[in-house]
Structures are given as C-alpha cells and as structure tokens.
C-alpha cells in the first residue's frame, strides 16, 4: 500500500468494472427511448393545448425541473412501491411489489426526469418552424396530421437534435447515481472493488474513463446524424 497511485492495480480492475457496463448502458438505453417517446408525447399535448392533459404536463415539468435527479430517484424507489401497495389495498389487486427489480425504478426515474427536459426542447423546436409552412400545407389541403408528419416534425427534429443529444448525454451520466437505489452497475461495482483494496481513487478513475469514452462515442454518432438531417439548410462554410 505504499504507492500514491497504483497504475497496475488500476488497470487490473478494468475487467471487473467493465463487466457491469452493459447494465449501465441498458438502463441508459431504456431510459433514453422512453424519455424520447414520453417527451414527444408531452410536447404534442402542449403544442396542441390538449385540455386538462396540457395543464398536468406543465405541473409535471415544473416538478421535475425544480428538484434534483438524485431526490427523484429516491422518491421513485421508495414512493412507487408505496403507491402500488396503496393501490393493492384499495383495489384489492395483488401486484407483487417486492419483486420489482431496482433497475425498473431507475429507468422510471431517469426517463421521467429526462422526458421533462426533452419535451421542452421538442416543443420549442416545433414552435420554431414558421407558421407559414403550416398554412402552406393547409393551402394545398393537407390535414394537420399530414402537415405535422411531412413538414413540421422533420424540421423540428433537425432543430431539436443537438439539445436532445445533450439530454441523452446527461442521461447517460446520470446513470452513475443509480447505485444509490441498490442497482449493481458500474459505480456499484467500482465501490465494491475499491472497498477490497481501499484504493477508491483508482477505481473511480476507471469509471470516469469508461463514461468518458461512452459519451465521446455517443457524441460522434449524434454529430453524424445531425449532418444527415440538416442537409436542407444553407450554412456558411466554416
């Protein structure tokens, strides 16, 4: 235990930590997909000002954006089982509350969190498409649905892509919180490995590097995608 920084030890822990990368990625992926779908749905509800639902969505966004992700995670972890138990008691149903894996709560909390931000991004992207194009759609007798699908949403997607990409990257990084609700993923693995040797610094550096590589890869993918969807824009050469 003499060395200040033991690089050989650090390298030797990589396999043990990387083994849990799939858990992290799977939770990030599920949360990302659900967040995108939910965020889109919330955005549409708000753009079309669907009665009641629209107000509910506003409250939801306020709640999420005004509280820390960590707190939301814990509230979901302790709150959802209570909610289900309450439902069981009042409805006489028999859902197995204790059998739900913690990763489900993690996905629920992360996707609800991310969807709130994404919905705002998507909503403002939709509103950024000039109303005149919608009118032009109507002028050739397209329906609102057709206009949204063929003209407005593709442009909104191009506008929303960079901030949505940032949200996805944040989401990926926020998976590092979920060890707090006893999901065994990379952070938890690192803690366990570190506790054996009391070399926490080395194992956290490993975790940092893995996250960093994942974020870089995601960023590359997003940049390539962005180039494809913005081909109709006229931009100055850089």
């Amino acid at each position: 235990m003499g060395k200040i920084f033991d690089i050989h030890y650090m390298l030797s822990t990589i396999p043990e930590i990387v083994k849990y990368l799939p858990v992290t990625l799977k939770i990030a992926l599920w949360s990302g997909v659900i967040a995108l779908i939910l965020g889109f749905a919330v955005a549409m509800v708000r753009v079309f000002r669907v009665r009641v639902l629209s107000q509910i969505c506003v409250v939801y966004i306020y709640c999420i954006s005004g509280t820390p992700a960590m707190v939301q995670l814990l509230v979901a972890y302790y709150g959802i089982p209570l909610l289900l138990r309450g439902l069981n008691e009042s409805l006489g149903t028999d859902w197995n509350v204790t059998g739900i894996p913690a990763s489900v709560f993690a996905v629920a909390a992360l996707s609800l969190n991310s969807a709130a931000f994404m919905s705002e991004t998507i909503r403002s992207a939709i509103l950024s498409v000039e109303a005149g194009q919608m009118e032009a759609c109507y002028s050739v007798n397209m329906t609102t649905m057709q206009a949204m699908r063929r003209v407005v949403l593709p442009q909104a997607f191009a506008v929303a892509l960079p901030p949505l990409g940032n949200s996805l990257i944040s989401l990926l990084k926020e998976t590092s919180l979920i060890f707090n609700i006893s999901v065994i993923e990379m952070m938890a693995a690192a803690k366990i490995v570190g506790a054996r040797s009391f070399r926490f610094f080395e194992v956290y550096i490993v975790v940092a590097l893995i996250y960093w590589i994942c974020c870089l890869a995601l960023e590359r993918i997003l940049i390539l995608l962005e180039r494809r969807v913005r081909k109709y824009e006229r931009r100055a050469v850089k």
């Binding site: 009118e135 032009a136 109507y138 063929r150 109709y232």
Partner: protein, 224 residues
C-alpha cells in the same frame, strides 16, 4: 364561380371585414387593392379558411361554406378548390423544389410518386425552374422561391389561385420574372385573385380591380 356574401371577420374588437360581397367569374383576374390594414390579406385568407370568418357565406364552384355552421369537410372542400401563393413564399424548407410541388399531389391527391414527379416537373418547367428541381428552398433566390410557390399552387389543379402580394417581398430585380410567370398562367385562363400594389400587373393583366376599404368593397372597375 366565387360568390362571397356578407363576409365578416374581427380580431377582438377590431372589425376587419364588415360584410364583404364579392364575386369572381371563371377566368377573371381580379386585383384587390386598398390601404394598408384594410383587410385585403384577411379577405384572401378567409377564402381558403386560413382565417375563419365569423359570419357570411363563401361558395367556390360546388363548395359552399356558411360561417355560422361549418364542418371540417366543408373547409376541406373549399381548400380543394383553391391554392395560395404567399407573400413570403412559405415553401417547405425540408423539401426540394420538386418535392414542394409534389407534396400536395402525393399526400392529398394520393398520386403515386412517379406520376406526381412527372406532373411536378411539368409545373416547374412552366415557371422556368426545371433545372432547380432538386434544390432546397434555402438555396434559391427570392424570385425562384416564389416561382416554386406558384408551381406548387398550380400543381393541385385549383379553380382559383389566391395571391397575397406575391412580389412585395422581392428585390426589384426578381419582380419581373415572377410577374412574367403570373402573366403566362393568366393567359392560360387561370382564375386569379391577386392582392397587389404592383401597377405593372394591374394594368397589363388584371381584368378587374376591386377596392377594399374600411372592411367593405367600395368600388370595382376595370384597371383604368
């Protein structure tokens, strides 16, 4: 062919149209003039129900709409009879020139792609832009964009094309080419209602001029 009776439209307390009676016969080129804020744009936009009037009736061919009880279906039948050319072109930014023209054909008229494209190219050829078929709007000049706008309107075979100041957003150098195209489709017999201050157009093409002021049509006459 177009028959408008007692059309009224307000924005809040602002009564913009106060009972417009207006008719257009097939093949006529009617220019709508009047002071700024008179309601010219508003009148044009109620004709295809981009703005909903609060009272009055509109008939275009066999499509009839009464503002007091209007259905979605009637609105669509009105829009089927009309097409519009906008002051700021309003092209679909994510679609090429050709796709702008074929969009209505494919999604509304349910034409197959090949037919739609061949018709779209024909329309682009009419406005002299066949060589720009694959260009996105952002890469076209104002005049070219407006000609695509005209091709898009022509493509859906409307009974009437509504033009709202089609040249007023253009640099002077591009006005001529757009007026040229409008002249041509006018001489092909298209019925047109045109809001325009462009005296060249009024004198050379219009068959009738209607003067809108204070929310009613106060005077109609020949271009002289």
């Amino acid at each position: 062919m177009i028959e408008v009776n007692g059309l009224k439209k307000s924005y809040g307390d602002n009564e913009v149209l106060r009972g417009v009676d207006f008719s257009v016969k097939k093949g006529e080129i009617v220019t709508l003039i009047g002071p700024s804020g008179a309601g010219k744009t508003t009148l044009l936009r109620t004709l295809n129900w981009l703005d909903a009037p609060k009272a009055g009736t509109i008939r275009i061919d066999d499509a009839r709409v009464d503002a007091s009880h209007v259905t979605k279906r009637q609105i669509r039948s009105l829009r089927e009879k009309t097409a519009m050319v906008f002051q700021h072109y309003n092209l679909f930014a994510n679609r090429t020139a050709l796709q702008n023209v074929t969009e209505g054909l494919i999604t509304v008229k349910k034409m197959n792609r090949k037919q739609a494209e061949s018709k779209g190219k024909e329309m682009l050829d009419r406005v002299g832009l066949l060589d720009k078929a694959d260009a996105y709007p952002a890469f076209l000049s104002g005049g070219q964009q407006q000609r695509v706008g005209i091709a898009r309107a022509l493509a859906v075979d409307p009974s009437v094309i509504l033009f709202d100041e089609p040249t007023s957003a253009l640099d002077p150098e591009w006005v001529g080419e757009v007026l040229g195209v409008m002249n041509e489709i006018a001489s092909d017999g298209m019925t047109m209602v045109v809001v325009s201050h462009e005296m060249r157009f009024v004198r050379s093409v219009a068959t009738r001029v209607a003067f809108l002021d204070e929310g009613v049509i106060v005077e109609e006459g020949t271009p002289e």
